[in-house]
């Protein structure tokens, strides 16, 4: 029995990575849920919007690095992030002008808008590959660890290491700032309130003199900012690859739907739920149980419930169970 080492192992391999991943998913899901609340369709191009924002940020990072600018221990990408956000905002606003607005005026059914967003997804995917290629790109620089595995072991004398990467802490801090700013904006400012009104009841909002085009434009800008931030944080934490970002679409949608589409709080909860479930089910728990079990009872196998490649299955299973038993999501979303 060695509960302290078990706890450290659990923290190191499950809790910390899942928290960072959950924050990234939550930011992505917030963007999806916001677009759903205002424009009332599931945006399949969201993963590729993230990829685009990250690609521009990487270009900016390279530019800054070659100019010799750095943030010291922090990754340079944080300096380039505003550039990425601005470029992505311009891109999605342009897309809205050129593509989505036509269908909005026509009052096309949501399914048509989803198909349209598939076309946008193709274009953005091609655009990203055009800009930056298909390779794996690591762009994290600065200090790698806040607490390194060896440092922790030496400081505490425990058998198990505990490592906290800079990117993980940055993810949490940035996500917390972004979420706080978003909720302040939605609850306290005039524009934010008009957006919530528009999302709750479009006709009533129009009658009250809310300008729909303005609401839509603001929603796109916020979604672009959230998507770029989520993408950059994910890229710092792991690495950037165009195809991986497209695949993130599934857990992000799962998070948004599980939390209740259109509900920002739900998106955050859903993001963490999906992330923890994915990591817990696919992580071999042998070490943790080995410390907890009484002598001689240590598990022989890896105690890995599912292999890592089945992580999609986890988000999907949660999604199906929630949809079957609580179709509006855990928090009440606007399900039509």
């Amino acid at each position: 029995m060695d509960p302290i080492n078990a706890l450290v192992a659990l923290l190191n391999f499950v809790v910390i990575p899942a928290t960072a991943y959950g924050a990234q998913l939550a930011l992505g899901a917030l963007g999806v849920t916001l677009i759903y609340g205002i424009l009332r369709f599931s945006n399949f191009a969201h993963g590729d919007t993230m990829a685009f924002g990250t690609a521009i940020t990487i270009l900016g990072t390279w530019g800054l690095q070659s100019a010799g600018v750095s943030l010291g221990p922090l990754p340079t990408a944080l300096l380039a992030l505003p550039v990425g956000i601005a470029a992505t905002a311009l891109l999605v606003l342009g897309t809205d002008r050129g593509v989505y607005r036509f269908y909005r005026r026509q009052k096309a059914s949501p399914v048509i808008l989803v198909i349209v967003s598939m076309g946008v997804m193709f274009i953005m995917n091609g655009l990203v590959r055009f800009i930056i290629g298909v390779d794996d790109i690591g762009f994290a620089d600065g200090e790698r660890f806040i607490i390194s595995a060896r440092g922790f072991r030496e400081a505490t004398g425990l058998e198990e290491p505990l490592a906290i990467r800079t990117s993980q802490v940055i993810t949490l801090v940035t996500a917390a700032i972004a979420v706080a700013a978003l909720f302040w904006f939605l609850n306290r400012t005039r524009t934010g309130k008009s957006m919530r009104a528009f999302s709750d009841n479009e006709d009533l909002a129009l009658l009250s003199g809310i300008n729909p085009e303005r609401v839509v434009a603001v929603a796109w800008i916020i979604a672009a900012a959230l998507a770029t931030t989520a993408g950059v944080l994910y890229g710092l934490d792991k690495s950037f690859k165009a195809f991986t970002y497209f695949q993130l679409l599934l857990p992000i949608f799962a998070a948004a739907i599980v939390g209740g589409l259109g509900n920002p709080l739900g998106a955050i909860a859903g993001g963490f739920l999906i992330a923890f479930a994915e990591v817990l089910v696919t992580y071999p728990l042998k070490k943790v149980l080995g410390y907890l079990a009484p002598g001689g009872w240590e598990p022989e196998g890896l105690v890995q419930l599912l292999s890592t490649d089945y992580k999609f299955a986890v988000s999907f299973a949660i999604l199906i169970v929630v949809l079957l038993f609580r179709p509006t999501g855990l928090f009440k979303g606007q399900s039509v």
Partner: protein
């Protein structure tokens, strides 16, 4: 565009594209594209049955195509006797345990009264069944995968003629679709979309990881062919003589002959499915499906069982995709789970249906040919375009070097633009539904 072009003219134009490819590049290239286009047309028919007839938004096509491919392995490959001896029976037993667990849990859910006792019973059945499944299954899996892992490491197939795998692929895909449809078809359109997208990813993950089934990412290669091999043709004196009389070398002619043989088989299947789809669409059943699609509430009020009809059409469409998947794996003679990508196997098929004209079988087929041709040719066309631009740029310009790499990514961009243009200016497609 209110009336559109006459369909015959459009088909002639697309045929012209393939002929032009034959003259400008080579007949070999043109036939390669044609064979995949025939398969794509069948996939598009499958999607059209689901979306065009019934309005079901399924974006898990890739999964059904991959299941069809699995059928080609299971039917065509010879069995691996050692693997069966090492743990084949125990492995099957393990799978049965897993299935029985799920069935038992569902039975308990249905039979017991709601409450805490039911929840506990469910959990006990599920956890106990999972442990039992892993206990029976895991050693057998390890034993099977340890048998000659470089060449086998899986159970192998039934060693039957591979052409049988086409209907079998349809049946496997239909079975999977039935299971999926039972759980997911009650969801509204965009939830169904996400659900099917997820299922397709899971099917690919299973194919990639379950080595005992089809060797996972080690790929199954050398699946037997339904047509002669080029080498055998070249060794045949009569064939060499024929090549000489036609004025080509035997190597080129043999590869063209093999591709033509495939094209013949695929055309037969395509015509068969097209005929069946047309008959179904024109029958009372087809009219009922369209009525349900256009107004579910009204159809239900008329006494139509919407849920069952949706399940039916979902299974049928998926089966068609499964047949196409088995044909594709047969054509490639190999199953490579890593090659299945949703952009290529799900969304591209959707582009075919929308561009061709959803709800119209001829439209779907036309879309299949046209879009696959465009997909295959976008890269060479991108290269031509690039060399045109590069020649105007100064030597060693960074843009020239960048364009060099980027030409390969032209196809996604092209597809997106084509899809958006069609949706915007001709939303009913090239051959609209009548």
């Amino acid at each position: 565009m209110t009336r559109g072009f006459p369909p015959a003219l459009l088909f002639a134009l697309v045929a012209g594209l393939f002929v032009a490819t034959g003259f400008m590049q080579s007949w070999n290239v043109s036939l390669t594209i044609l064979n995949m286009a025939l398969i794509s047309a069948i996939m598009a028919l499958g999607v059209n049955i689901q979306w065009g007839y019934a309005g079901l938004f399924n974006i898990g096509i890739m999964g059904f195509v991959a299941l069809g491919g699995l059928a080609a392995v299971i039917v065509g490959m010879p069995p691996v006797g050692d693997a069966w001896a090492a743990g084949g029976v125990r492995l099957i037993l393990g799978l049965v345990c897993g299935a029985a667990t799920i069935a038992g849990a569902m039975l308990a859910w249905g039979a017991m009264a709601p409450g805490r006792r039911r929840t506990v019973a469910m959990l006990v059945i599920l956890l106990g069944g999972f442990a039992l499944y892993r206990f029976v299954f895991d050693p057998a899996k390890v034993a099977v995968e340890a048998v000659n892992p470089a060449n086998a490491g899986y159970l192998g197939g039934l060693n039957l003629p591979v052409i049988l795998s086409w209907p079998v692929g349809g049946v496997i895909a239909a079975g999977a679709a039935w299971l999926i449809g039972k759980t997911a078809l009650g969801l509204r359109s965009d939830y169904l979309a996400i659900a099917t997208l997820g299922i397709a990813e899971i099917i690919i993950a299973v194919l990639k990881n379950e080595d005992w089934l089809a060797r996972g990412v080690k790929n199954v290669i050398g699946i037997p062919r339904p047509v002669p091999y080029e080498v055998d043709l070249q060794a045949d004196p009569a064939f060499v003589e024929r090549a000489a009389s036609l004025g080509t070398d035997p190597a080129t002619l043999s590869s063209i002959a093999v591709k033509l043989a495939y094209a013949g088989l695929f055309t037969a299947v395509l015509l068969l499915i097209l005929l069946a789809a047309q008959l179904a669409l024109k029958s009372p059943w087809g009219r009922m499906m369209r009525a349900i699609r256009d107004n579910e509430v009204a159809a239900e009020a008329m006494g139509k069982d919407v849920t069952r009809r949706h399940l039916q059409v979902f299974v049928l469409g998926s089966a068609v995709c499964g047949v196409a998947g088995a044909m594709m794996t047969t054509l490639d003679s190999q199953l490579t789970p890593g090659a299945y990508q949703p952009l290529r196997f799900t969304f591209l098929v959707w582009v075919m249906v929308i561009v061709g004209g959803s709800g119209n079988n001829w439209g779907a087929v036309l879309g299949g040919f046209l879009i696959y041709w465009l997909w295959a040719m976008a890269e060479p066309m991108g290269l031509w375009l690039k060399s045109g631009i590069v020649s105007t740029l100064p030597e060693g310009s960074w843009l020239a070097a960048h364009l060099e790499d980027a030409a390969a990514h032209m196809r996604l961009l092209t597809m997106g633009i084509v899809l958006l243009l069609v949706l915007r200016f001709s939303p009913r497609g090239l051959i609209p539904e009548r």
